[in-house]
């Protein structure tokens, strides 16, 4: 690109690049035209009651069949959760969205946000399981769809993050060689295997090692595998943040008489984590999507219910529509996380706010 300075470069700038721009715009416009023609103009939005899917079959190839979404959205969103109780799963999704939305608003960035999340999770547990307040009990093996995805991701990251901080601190604990060695072994072992094999181990092998009569639910085992996996990756991110901090910060804190934990909590972590917010959120987003791998051990998360919905013979051939819906849902949540991250970065890089908690 540096050659743009000579005569030929000027030629390129004056004639060639507008041509390329024009060509690419045309290509884009054509693509958009064809997409909207498929998704809107020629789309089949609903099917007459009682009819079969022939109307959709006729449009196959040039028109989308959004009727499949109307037909299947409850299964995609809630899986095999008892039909009459699905309002509870819907409320759970609403709870999650509210919690995410609250976290997006800076007015709620204070310690009480943790409290809000805590009570939100209690409400979610009550709604999902039931068995109290006159709600019918629904065992975990009937859960499915979006609540599973949100639970796996949110709880997974909520537990993986503190674990990651402890592991990162342990890896730097020079005075405690055993703890340091354990932390290194944990990170390297987990990083070295694919998440799929970890899920398999959790789902198939773990029960073999447990004493007879012990049984941990499959969902919980997957959750555990997920926490361990995310923890190892996040630990490396946190460690990068710790390593970026000058030694003088530790010494300044120590010389003032702050204990190791006080220095860590008040001086070291706030700065170290701030440095790595983009990398942390990047990892968060990656793991949100990785929850879809639980389909291989037969847990009905959002991706699995979507796939299952397209397998029914009458609806075969309409997977595009379903996957577009799934993509939109995943995107909505991941984009929200990205927004929260941007705001956190902006807020913390402005030197006018202290994130020290009140005494």
């Amino acid at each position: 690109m540096r050659v743009l300075r000579d005569g030929r470069g000027d030629m390129a700038r004056r004639f060639v690049s507008p041509l390329i721009t024009l060509f690419l715009s045309l290509l884009l416009a054509l693509g958009a035209w064809r997409f909207f023609s498929w998704a809107l103009w020629h789309a089949v939005w609903t099917l007459p009651p009682g009819s079969n899917t022939d109307l959709c079959r006729a449009a196959l190839g040039h028109g989308a069949c959004w009727a499949v979404i109307g037909e299947k959205f409850r299964f995609i969103l809630f899986g095999f959760y008892p039909y009459a109780q699905q309002w509870r799963a819907a409320l759970v999704i609403l709870c999650f969205i509210t919690l995410f939305a609250l976290s997006l608003s800076q007015r709620f960035w204070r310690p009480s946000l943790a409290l809000i999340w805590g009570s939100g999770l209690v409400v979610i547990a009550i709604l999902m399981w039931g068995g109290v307040f006159g709600l019918a009990f629904v065992p975990e093996d009937q859960w499915g769809g979006l609540p599973i995805t949100l639970l796996l991701a949110t709880l997974g990251l909520a537990f993986a993050f503190p674990l990651a901080i402890l592991v990162a601190l342990a890896r730097r604990a020079e005075g405690l060689p055993v703890i340091r060695w354990l932390a290194i072994a944990y990170v390297e072992l987990i990083r070295g295997v694919p998440l799929i094999s970890l899920l398999f181990m959790a789902s198939v092998m773990l029960p073999l090692f447990l004493p007879n009569g012990w049984n941990i639910d499959k969902l919980l085992r997957a959750q555990l595998a997920f926490v361990l996996f995310a923890g190892a990756y996040l630990a490396e991110v946190v460690r990068a943040g710790l390593a970026a901090l000058p030694r003088g910060q530790y010494e300044g804190a120590a010389a003032l008489g702050l204990s190791y934990w006080q220095a860590t909590r008040l001086i070291i972590l706030p700065q170290a984590l701030r440095h790595v917010i983009p990398m942390l959120v990047n990892t968060f987003i990656g793991f949100f999507k990785d929850t879809s791998l639980v389909l291989i051990i037969g847990i009905f998360d959002l991706m699995t219910t979507g796939r299952t919905a397209t397998m029914e013979p009458a609806w075969q051939g309409f997977a595009n529509e379903v996957y577009l819906l799934l993509a939109a849902i995943y995107f909505g949540f991941c984009f929200t996380m990205a927004r929260i991250s941007r705001r956190l970065e902006q807020r913390l890089s402005a030197p006018h706010h202290s994130i020290e908690e009140p005494a």
Binding site: G248, E251, G252, A254, A255, L258, P351, S354
Partner: protein
């Protein structure tokens, strides 16, 4: 022990190694309460290492160090007690950039001394006035000049109301025009009767406030005495060479 209990800091034949490098070779020293000690010597002679041993930012391997009657050891409670009584000012300030100047000053008094926020803020403002920057209390360290940052660092250490203050080349990282403002604050502090151990090459400062000057070289205390007699009659060749260098290039 009684004679040592009277001294603020006592080193008894202290040795330290970094790997196989012998950086402190038998330091013995007694600093009286209220004494103002200036330590000088060529770079790498072990000055920083020595004063950092006093609040155990470095561990010594042999010998004993007694601070305010408490011996330094692996006992975390003794260490915590000693750090409460010893303030330190670093060459690179080491302020906490994510906290305001005021929060930098109140953090340790609240968390370590158990002061209420109100008390801690009153005390912080008092010391910020003494270092002449009360108007910067709400700012953040990166918004201040080097000289201002170092004065905040001094105020932060003083807010713990320590019995002893350690300075490790507090003016070496500063632009020349800011050295004065920091030295003025240190002179005032010296005149208030604080026990001070200062590593510095500011010989004007040493001449003005030091009760005793210490010359270190290669991990040893080579010479000590009043600044006057050491400047006028250096007894060793090493000190003479050092003074020549400093006075002609410093």
């Amino acid at each position: 022990m009684t004679d040592r209990a009277e001294s603020a800091v006592a080193f008894i034949d202290v040795h330290k190694w970094y790997g196989r490098v012998h950086v402190l070779r038998g330091i013995s020293l007694s600093v009286a309460s209220g004494e103002r000690l200036v330590i000088c010597g060529p770079s790498g002679s072990g000055k920083s290492t020595m004063i950092r041993c006093i609040n155990r930012l470095e561990h010594h391997e042999k010998g004993r160090i007694i601070v305010e009657g408490m011996e330094l050891s692996d006992d975390p409670r003794a260490l915590a007690a000693i750090r409460r009584e010893v303030g330190m000012v670093f060459q690179s300030f080491n302020l906490f950039p994510h906290l305001s100047v005021l929060d930098n000053c109140t953090l340790a008094p609240i968390r370590v001394r158990g002061l209420s926020r109100g008390e801690a803020e009153d005390r912080a403002m008092e010391y910020l006035k003494r270092v002449r920057i009360p108007e910067q209390a709400r700012k953040f360290p990166p918004q201040l000049s080097g000289g201002q940052q170092q004065r905040v660092a001094i105020a932060r250490a003083l807010c713990m109301q320590p019995k002893i203050m350690l300075f490790d080349e507090p003016t070496s990282a500063l632009d020349p025009e800011m050295v004065r403002e920091v030295l003025d604050v240190m002179i005032e502090l010296a005149e208030s009767g604080m026990t001070m151990l200062c590593v510095t090459h500011e010989m004007g400062f040493a001449r003005r406030v030091a009760d005793r000057l210490l010359f270190m070289d290669r991990g040893e205390i080579v010479e000590s005495g009043s600044p006057q007699e050491m400047f006028d009659n250096p007894r060793t060749e090493r000190l003479r060479g050092f003074l020549n260098q400093i006075l002609h290039h410093g």
